[in-house]
Every structure is written in C-alpha cells, then in structure tokens.
Symmetry: C2
Subunit: 456 residues, 2 copies
C-alpha cells in the first residue's frame, strides 16, 4: 500500500500528461469525419498498454471502429481479469457552452476538463496505470487482458460479433469495468444494475415543401404540431409509457428490495440544486432512485423542424424530426421494444402526414449479483481506500455490451466506476476530479489482490 501510494505520488504529473495526450484526440465515434481520429486513439492506447507492461498489444479490426487488445499472461493456471473500456467519446455540441475547448484538456480547480476526461478515457487510464504499478512492482497476482473498444457511445454495434469470433482469446474469469459513477465522493458505490436502451429517430413529413403559414395555415396538417402531439401521447398523466406491451417484460422489484435500495444515501435537495430544478418528475409511485434504477423511461434527446434561425419566418414546415430513447430494465428486450415503438408510433400518425422510424442504437440491461467473488473483492478494495464499505447501486445508465458479455462470453462484469455526477459526462464541460483519478489507481490493484485470494 505504501509502495503504491509512493508510486502514485511520484508519477502524478506524468499520468496526467499521458492522459492529456489521449484526451487531445477527438475520437467521436458517431461522426464519420473523425474516422482517422479513432485509429489515432487506438494506437495511443496500444502504445500506453505496451509501455505499461503488456506482453502483447494489437489493434484488431471489427465491422466498425477497431478494438485494442492486450494481455499479460503470467501463469495460465491463475485466474484471468479482463479490463473493458472504450476510447470513443460523445459529440461535444453545443460546443459554445464549453469553458475550455473540449479537446484541449486542462486542469482547473483540481479537475481535468475535456471530453472523455471521465467517460471513458480518464477511467480507462486508471487501469493502465494500476497495471503499470503491478507490473513494475512485481505484484501482479493474476493474468490480465485488455479489450478497449471504439464504439461504446454508439451502442457497441460491432463488439458482439467481435466477441463471438474471438471468444477463445477473450476467455476470462471476470470483466472489470470503470465506466460508471459513485453516489458521491464520500459514498463509494458499486454499480450492480444498468438499464438497456432503445434509441430511434423519427421523421414526420407533411407537405412536400415548407409552405407559407398564412396561405396554408389551418388547412394543411403541420408535421411539427403532429410530432408534438405524437410525442405527448407517448406518456400518460402518470408518466407511464403508453406503448402497448411496453411493460410486459419488466421484472418487478420486491418491496424488501425497494426498502433496501431506499436506504442508500441520497440527498434530493442537493440533487435538485446541482442541476438547478425546482421539482423532479417521473413515473407516479416511484422514488427518484427507483425511477432511474429499476424503472424504464422515455426521453426526447433532440427535436428539430422548420425555421430555427433568428427572427420570425412564417412557414408551415415540410418535416419534423426527433431522436427518442427509451431506457429499459430487465427483462425488456431492446429489439422487441424497437418493434413495439415502431408499430405504435406509426399507428398513431394522423392522416395528412407520413412517418418514418429508424433504429439508431440499442442494448440490454444488466443486473450483477452482490454475492459474486468479484463483488466481494471490489467491496474490500473500496473499504481499504475509502475507509467505508461501498453501497450496491442500480444506475440508470446503459452499457449495452455488458449484458452481451454475459451472453457471449458467459462472464459477469464488475462495475467499479469512480466518476461523479458532477463530471457532466455527455454534457459540455465534462471533467474528472484528480482525486477520483488517483483514488481509482490506488483501489484497482487492491481489487486484483482480493480477487486472486477469492479465487485461490
């Protein structure tokens, strides 16, 4: 422990410099214009892993952006931990709201600012540095593999096939992931549940061109007004989703479980203040934590149509669009939900418009058991470094690939995330506190120790 702390203390500056190199690469997976950047980021990770002590590292093609794979096998009879992470990041729009340019990382107020600072370049880099320590210190207690992909932010469309085709190479006993948040800096937590995702784009077409809203207004069906009515009707007055069959496969959570979850520390006033809202909302009959943890939700992620520039333009628009996503809980299946959505949405279109729905992205939810050896190991590691036992916690986010790992590789994942809600991932001014970055590097080697002991 002292060696580890000394190592961190002595190398702090270098760790940040190395991470900055990665953060400077605008590896936005959803945009074609960044294709070359994806390769640059993959190369950067590969080199970082070799420098840290990986025996081999390679960039493996997929149907989309490549996967960086590396390993260090010290003894085939020992267990294998596989670290999963991703080098791709979310888009940065609206870029004018960033206080410093998203791909020019800097330190302010003891935080690293930049796109990917937390999600997931910063968290991923903790594993690279923890690994470097264990190798240099000669204390690596088991075998390690790294699988770092470039398509997490677009739903990992290629990774399922990649895992199937490389199942032998990817064989492991547990998958270790840092891509989630803690409840708070003082409330260490381990994510035991994730929601699934069904993400669609809808297009409503009215007349064949933008019309003069005076000459035609009142007589021609307006696709923006229609889209508003269609979206409005997707949730009822209790904020339940109205799509027929939507809740059919939702696994209920027992009253005891709900009571146990209700004991997790949660300061609702602080939560509201942090995002500056007077009131929260959501499905009637559930608490805030339950609404994100155990219940599905439906959000419009973006909407556009007609004239959106300065001043007034008197048109009746030809088209309206929205990006709509649904977060899913076990045992909802994202493909089934896609289909329910499409058929429902088309069925509610009124005469006078045509409707098109495109599925953009999806994946399944996940629940991880707290009696798993890796959970116990992670719990002990946090207890050592945070001085208190971590809370098991169901996050509202989605890492669709996690449920796929279980299905394809037959392995559970353990979600040791060190982020905070204030890290503003997916938002302008994403950041990652240095404290969390170093605390992650300190906690990870302890996980390896405890896990190896659990597996003896």
């Amino acid at each position: 422990m002292e060696k580890l702390n000394n190592f961190i203390e002595e190398n702090k500056g270098r760790f940040v410099e190395e991470l900055f190199g990665l953060l400077r690469i605008p590896s936005v997976s959803s945009k074609n214009e960044h294709k070359a950047d994806m390769h640059k980021a993959a190369e950067y990770i590969k080199k970082s892993l070799l420098d840290a002590g990986a025996k081999t590292a390679e960039i493996l093609p997929t149907d989309g952006h490549p996967v960086v794979y590396a390993e260090k096998i010290i003894d085939p009879s020992l267990p294998v931990v596989m670290v999963y992470g991703h080098y791709d990041v979310q888009p940065v729009e609206p870029v004018e709201l960033w206080k410093s340019p998203p791909f020019e990382p800097e330190i302010r107020d003891e935080r690293i600012w930049g796109r990917g600072a937390d999600d997931d370049k910063g968290q991923l880099f903790m594993h690279v540095k923890a690994f470097e320590f264990m190798v240099k210190n000669g204390s690596l207690p088991c075998n390690v593999k790294f699988m770092i992909e470039g398509e997490e932010e677009i739903g990992s469309p290629s990774l399922g096939k990649f895992c199937e085709e490389n199942a032998g190479k990817l064989k492991c006993d547990v998958i270790l992931v840092s891509d989630t948040s803690m409840i708070g800096r003082d409330v260490p937590s381990i994510t035991t549940g994730l929601r699934g995702l069904s993400y669609v784009e809808v297009e409503v077409t009215g007349p064949n061109r933008d019309l003069h809203s005076g000459l035609y207004g009142g007589a021609v069906v307006n696709p923006v007004n229609v889209l508003a009515k269609m979206i409005a009707s997707l949730t009822d007055e209790n904020n339940r989703i109205t799509i027929s069959g939507f809740y059919d496969d939702v696994v209920g959570v027992s009253q005891e479980e709900r009571q146990a979850m209700g004991k997790a520390p949660f300061d609702i006033e602080k939560y509201k203040k942090e995002i500056d809202v007077d009131e929260l909302g959501g499905e009637a009959g559930y608490s805030t934590m339950e609404r994100t943890g155990i219940r599905p939700s439906l959000d419009v992620n973006g909407i556009w149509g007609g004239y959106t520039g300065e001043g007034a333009k008197t048109i009746l628009p030809s088209k309206a669009f929205a990006k709509i996503s649904m977060r899913l809980v076990p045992d909802q299946n994202s493909k089934k939900i896609d289909e329910l959505f499409i058929s429902h949405f088309k069925s509610i279109a009124p005469p006078g418009v045509r409707v098109d729905v495109r599925v953009l992205h999806g994946g399944e939810g996940y629940v991880s058991p707290v009696d798993h050896s890796a959970y116990r190991a992670a719990s002990k590691a946090y207890e050592d470094t945070f001085g208190k036992k971590p809370v098991p916690f169901r996050s509202g986010g989605s890492i669709p690939i996690i449920s796929l790992f279980e299905k394809v590789l037959g392995v559970k994942s353990i979600l040791m995330g060190f982020g905070l809600e204030s890290d503003a991932i997916h938002s302008p001014n994403e950041n990652y506190p240095l404290w969390n970055f170093y605390k992650g590097i300190e906690t990870i080697p302890l996980f390896y120790d405890y896990y190896s002991k659990e597996m003896e």
Copy 2:
C-alpha cells in the same frame, strides 16, 4: 392598350434585367448581417423610381430599415394613388433545397427564380414599370406616390410610427398593393381579406445543462417532452385552439357569405397533389378555404432542442424552443392574443421547468369592401386583361400594415396581387412566372384609368 402592349413587348428584356439587379441584393430584413443590403436595396428602388419618372424620390429613416418614398404630383386637384410594397425578403433557409442560388436570379421554364421574385420585389417592380409606361406615354391620369418599406417580412414594426409622423406627406385616396396571390392563372381574383398575426417564440428550460439521459432519464423533467405536451395541448381533437378567450372576438361569417365563398373555384385534389399530401386537416366544421380565409389557426413554424446532429447522443436536454404563430381574423387583436397566449402558455407549464415567451411579430387582420370605387376599378381592369371578372377572395396570409394604414391614414387598400400559389413564396425555389409579371404591368395602368374615372 396597343401602345401598352407594344411597350411591354419592346422592353421585356430590360424589365427582367432591372428586376434581376434588385433580386441580387440579399435584403433579408430579419437578419442583422444584412443591414447594409437593406440600404443597397432601398437605393436601388429609389433610382428605379426616379428613372421611371418620379419627380422626387428619397430614402427616409425609420426606427428600423428605411422607407423609400417617391411621388409624381401632376395636378393637386386629382386623386392620389399610393403604391405600397416592400423591398425586404424572407430568409432563404434551408438553402440546400434551392435548385439555383436564391440571390442569383435566373429564368427557367418561363419563370423568374430567386428569393423575392414574387414576394414582393417582382410584384412591386410591375408598379414601377407600369408607372414608367404612363409617364412616358403621357397617360398618367392622377397623382402617384410610392411608399416602399423594408420591414414587411418582420411585421412592419416601424411603419406605423412612420405613417403617423408623415401623415401629411402620405395623404392619398387609396393604397394600391400587389403582395398577394390569385386563385389561379385562369382565375383572376382580388384579395378582400387578410388574417392578422401573433408570432411568438417560447423557451422551456429544465436542468441547467444537458444531462446523461441514462443517469437522469425518468427522474428529471425533460423540457423537450414538456414542450411537446404543451404544444399538443394548444389544440383540441377538433383542431380548435384551447387558449381561453382565443375565439372571443372572432367575427362570425353568415351562412349566406359562406355559401357565396363556397362558389369560388377551388380544386381540392389539385391543391393536395400540388403539395403532395393525402389528406388535409384543420378545424372541424369548416372547408379548406374557410379554414384559411375566415378562421384563425395555430402553427409551429419551427422547433428545436437537444442533440440534432448525426447519430445518437444520449442526453436529456437542458432547453427546448419553438416558434409558434397564430393567424387571426377580424376582430381579433394581436396584442390581446399575445397576452392570452403568454398567460395560457405559462399556466400550463408543469413543475420542473421554467417557461419564457417572447413576442416576435404581430399585426391585425383586414377586410376590404367589394363596393369600394377602387375595387370596382380593379375589377374592370382585370376583366379587360384576363377576359373574365375577378373573384373576391379572402386570403389566409397577413400584411399587418394594411389594417394599420386604415387606422392611421384613414384609407382603404386594394390588393391587386398577381402571384400564384406555386410561386413558393417564403419557401426554397421562390419563383414568379414571366406571364404574371407582364400581365401585372398590363393591368395596372388600366386600374389607374378606371379609378380616375370612378373619382371624377
């Protein structure tokens, strides 16, 4: 008549060239970046009027874009016709849908293509050329004034004050306007009614930044979902506007008047085909022509919020916006409707969001009597050049300043529009058929003749 036709035939090419010079100036009144272009367009009009034979022409400042004023007084005892028009144009977005650049006019298929080709540069220019003919031919039968403004497309915010301050100079017996459409090329018509307008922009604010839609989705009120619900609730299942008090001042139209209006030629299948929709919509209990002519309407002109780029971004947006306009009929007052809208819209905002409403633009409706001397003169002029009596017709559009002229100057306006619905005004690919352009130049001098005789 023969002299007039010869004049047009001999000068066709020059007329188009001169109009092109005006069309090349991007005088978009709603955008600050075009401020210099507004002055350029005003100068162009001033010079055109002097060249055509105006005794004096000047560019007069207003609180906004300037007014071009010109006159030719031949005998103070004769009546005064004042031509009103505007040199400003609508924005051109979405510019990628234009087949030729909006400010590079060209002739294709016997039409002039470009922003303003019809509305209103093309129609305004017919008056300049008809005036030129009457002056050169020595046949001008009365006095003429021109008042050409630069803010019609943004609701003429400065012209009311301008008219009040220049009431003496603007004294006239009738105002002549070509800024409307005919029912069809074979169905000449004179617009006898216009709708008023109330145009607002709404802003719904939820959390202080875009949030991760997984971590927060289901618990935090989403401003886009809220805006959709608010817009949806503005009209009921019969497409009646739900704003309390909205219909209070709507003047009903008698069954006889509705029957007379129903006799105006209107081919609903052609109308639907032209805009490529299967069905029309609108307020229950009214025909298509009634829905635009005698009933108010509410349209979203534009909507935006959240992520609207390529691919999927999983955010719960901080803000959502919409531009919403209501077309009004006599005796609705736009300022009263603005206030009803604001108080209604704020009242329906749910907890968890803040709502702001900004009034962008507005004006009152207008009804012009068919027993007015100027209407009779216009009717005879059309009958001579089109070979048939024009149909009186209530347009759904708005020229807010027309009702203001009546209020401030005490003068009726006569709306001799030569446009067609297919001219796509306010849309990409605005155009104006050469046939209509020349037909207008041919008809206008006849109006002056008949009107002067009516006034003897």
